[in-house]
Amino acid sequence: MSAVSTRGSRLWTRWSGVVVGALAFVLALPLLVVLSSPLHTAAKDWGHVATNILPSYAWETVLLLFGVLVLGLLIAVPTAWFVICFAFPGRRFFRWALVMPLALPTYISAYAYAGLLGPTGTLTNALDTSFGLRPDIVGLPGLCFVLAFVLSPYIHLPARAAFAQGMRRPLDAARVLGASPWRRFRSVALPLARPAIAGGALLMAMETLNDYGAVKYYGVRTLTTGIFRSWGGLYDLGSALRLCMVLLGMIALLMWIERQAQRNIPRATDQVPIRPVRLRTVQAWSITLWCSLIVLFGAGLPMYKIVGDVFADIGVREWSASLPAFGNTLFVAFLSAICTLVVGILFTFRDRYYPRSRSATRIAGLGYAIPGAVIAISVMALAGAVDRQDLFEAALIGSVGILIYAFTVRFLAVAMQPLAGNLQQQPRSYDEAARLSGATPWQAFRRVNLPILRPALLSAALLVSIDVIKELPLTLILRPFNFETLSTRTYGLASIEQLQQASWPALLIVICGSVPVLLLERFLARN
């Protein structure tokens, strides 16, 4: 190790606290704007909002959340267990097909389902003529169904990762002691995977609470639609921000519950992967059937609708309009992934070696809990305050830079999750060995922890890109002039009820999103 690099490392170790602290502060600013809103934004109609909007909207939010989580767990956890533990026909196909819904934005899936199984949907009418049935997916129960399927990979992926590693010995022990397969799943695997499942469920809950497009179209009233009703309908930003605080309170409660789920967990110790068990034909095929149904509802039906619409509206016009949007989408996804990754690495470093900074980095990660449109308002208020000082030639608002900043605020938690998870699995003795041989904390992190973190870094980058590709409200309002992404293009067409035309950019989003999804899946399969 050269002297220069040692001095640099010392310097960096000393100053990293300041840098990370400043970064955490900058990233937490939008949250602070929301939390301090009672001090700076009057809520003229809070009385009306608190009596007429808050109770019913909060109640429907709770119902939706409950429905989505219960259904989501039922969809995601068993399939994860099957794919890891059993050999059945089509297993390799299902490994990635079960993750595919991740590439579908919720609003696109919701619109597609409404077109098929809504009150006037094509399948609804087909079922009516053949069986006299008229299902209607557009409503609260239907929305639970749609969101649970499209968001299920958020639980499926971590559950699968947890099942895949570290359970071989306890499961073998249980088998030797005569536990039935069901009992082994329930009493051994499930408790061991509980932290991972709870973490995934938390992400799923936040996605549900944040949703606006699907919720509005299905006529369900959640706190997020309440925020828009107060702001856009009553022209009362103050009340909207107060509702946002209620939403944050709800998320804080969920985070607390998730923390409880992490406690008193016996840690899996071995690194031996589970070898899939061969099953009897009937059993194997029933699993195949079950997984096929999940894939059909999660990705098959929505894709059938989107591709069908694309063929019905085949033409060069929409295609050529969507192409620049395609490029812009990849551009912002790439930059945001890199940006969140750099911040994520710095934060995990501080978390690991200086546990006192943990609260700062955790607060910075709360951006994921705030609806995108609210982040956008806070970011604009902040950037506007800077712009008005005339410090820079170019304005921050309407620049790609501020868009990337907003994405980092919003999606840092998504990147931190795999990084923190991976780091937790690295024994402390690694760090101690490095430190004892004279390395500074930063050197120890860079040369010992970081190389082991590499797979988690890739997962983080892919997850953030997928989210950015699908993101709508932040992009819509913060973008520069003449800057379309695939999601703004889809939304624009859907908002004027040109759903068939909207299938073009929607399909491109799915294609664009499936690349990182497939990479992620292949990558997780190999590790």
């Binding site: 009306h48 007429n52 409404a114 077109g115 809504g118 009150p119 006037t120 609804t124 409503g139 179209y217 299905y218 006529g219 828009f228 009703r229 702001w231 856009g232 309908g233 009553l234 022209y235 009362d236 019905a312 930059l335 945001s336 890199i338 940006c339 990754l341 750099v342 690495i345 449109a373 956008a376 308002i377 604009m380 208020a381 506007g384 712009d387 008005r388 820079f392 170019a394 304005a395 608002i397 309407g398 620049s399 790609v400 830079g401 501020i402 990337i404 860079r446 970081l450 409200p473 819509l476 309002i477 973008r479 520069p480 002039f481 003449n482 800057f483 624009g492 067409l493 004027i496 009820e497």
Partner: protein, 354 residues
């Protein structure tokens, strides 16, 4: 070498706010006009291209929700690059005016092209295209003269037959605001309760979905915007044919007093319109674009391409809408819609209109 340093150049690029070449906010040459618009229609894009071809003025666009755009204008303050703010709701234009986001302007051309009730009395904003809140009905089941007034919709005969989208939508909020302007909050709330009582189902979907529901027999009358009806009637998508064959339009009117009192005031209309932003760097170009959009050529394209009613007299409406004839529009100055939108939302909440 520290590998994470490799990311730094990318980070710097990300943070140095690069501007796409076309988006330079304050250039000297060539002439540009910067637009914040809520409208997503392709017709608009074609019109802007035609405007550029005609005048050499380039049109830069940011499209987003109108509330978000107003927040952006407010945050940008004097440094805002925005010249022209366009939204699809007169209420929002009124609000932008009271929040100091627009500046007054006068133009001979605009005053000539646009009727007085469809523009701000002080010249802060101008209506460019008009849509009416009309009733689509199943012509096999409903007589052509069954619905003459908005009050008729609350009659017991429509119980379980009325389709309408959620009150989350601004078109319903504006209709309610107009009713409050004419009849007061109490009567309007009573009306909304009557609507809720007659609903065939909980409100869901958009305007087009209500008409499709008529096609599938889920209801017989629907409150919709005229241009969605026009688009449906022009559509050749197979799923829309059933509704297309069944639907006719009625143009209900408001009364001045409660319970069908006279005189008749007219059908509720709203406009898409624009106003020059307070800190517009290119005011002259903005006015030129506004004037162009109010002219015969653009008005004709709005009508044909997007099935909206032209505001300029003498320009033909879309042929799909022509079949239903002309109508008397509400003479209420649309500035009232912005003022009363909050009251409308409260009354809708009180009536239990989801």
């Amino acid at each position: 070498m520290n590998k994470s340093l490799l990311f730094l150049p990318a980070l710097l690029v990300a943070c140095s706010s690069p501007e796409p070449e076309t988006a330079d906010p304050i250039p000297v040459e060539p002439k540009v006009v910067n637009l914040y618009t809520h409208r997503h229609y392709d017709t608009d894009k074609e019109l802007f291209a035609a405007f550029t071809a005609k005048t050499g003025i380039e049109v830069n666009v940011v499209q987003a929700g109108d509330d978000e755009l107003m927040a952006r204008l407010e945050a940008e303050g004097a440094k805002s690059p925005c010249d022209l703010f366009i939204t699809a709701d007169a209420g929002r234009l009124g609000l932008a005016k009271t929040r100091g986001l627009l500046q007054p302007s006068t133009s001979e051309v605009l005053s000539q092209n646009i009727p007085a009730n469809l523009r701000d009395p002080e010249g802060y904003w101008y209506g460019l295209t008009m849509r009416a809140r009309v009733i689509a009905y199943n012509k096999n089941k409903v007589k052509a003269d069954a619905i003459r007034t908005y009050d008729d919709l609350t009659k017991a005969q429509w119980k379980g037959r009325l389709l309408v989208r959620s009150s989350e939508n601004v078109y319903n909020q504006s209709l309610m605001a107009a009713l409050i302007a004419h009849q007061g909050v109490e009567a309007a709330t009573k009306w909304a309760k009557g609507i809720v009582k007659n609903m065939a189902r909980d409100p869901k979907g958009g305007d087009t979905d209500q008409m499709l529901a008529i096609g599938d027999g889920l209801g017989d009358i629907a409150i919709v915007n005229s241009y969605y009806a026009g688009k449906l009637l022009a559509s050749d998508e197979p799923e829309k044919q059933k509704a297309k064959a069944l639907i006719a339009l009625a143009f209900p009117v408001f009364h001045a007093g409660v319970d069908g009192g006279t005189p008749i005031i007219g059908t509720h209309v709203n406009v898409s319109g624009g106003g020059v932003a307070t800190h517009a760097p290119h005011k002259a170009e903005a006015m030129e674009l506004l004037e162009y959009l109010s002219g015969t050529e653009a008005q004709g394209r709005f009508a044909e391409g997007n099935k909206e009613y032209p505001v300029k007299a003498g320009v033909a409406m879309a042929k799909e809408l022509e079949a239903f004839g002309s109508f008397t529009m509400d003479s209420l100055n649309l500035e009232a819609l912005g003022r009363l939108n909050g009251d409308a939302v409260k009354a809708l909440d009180a009536a239990g209109w989801r």
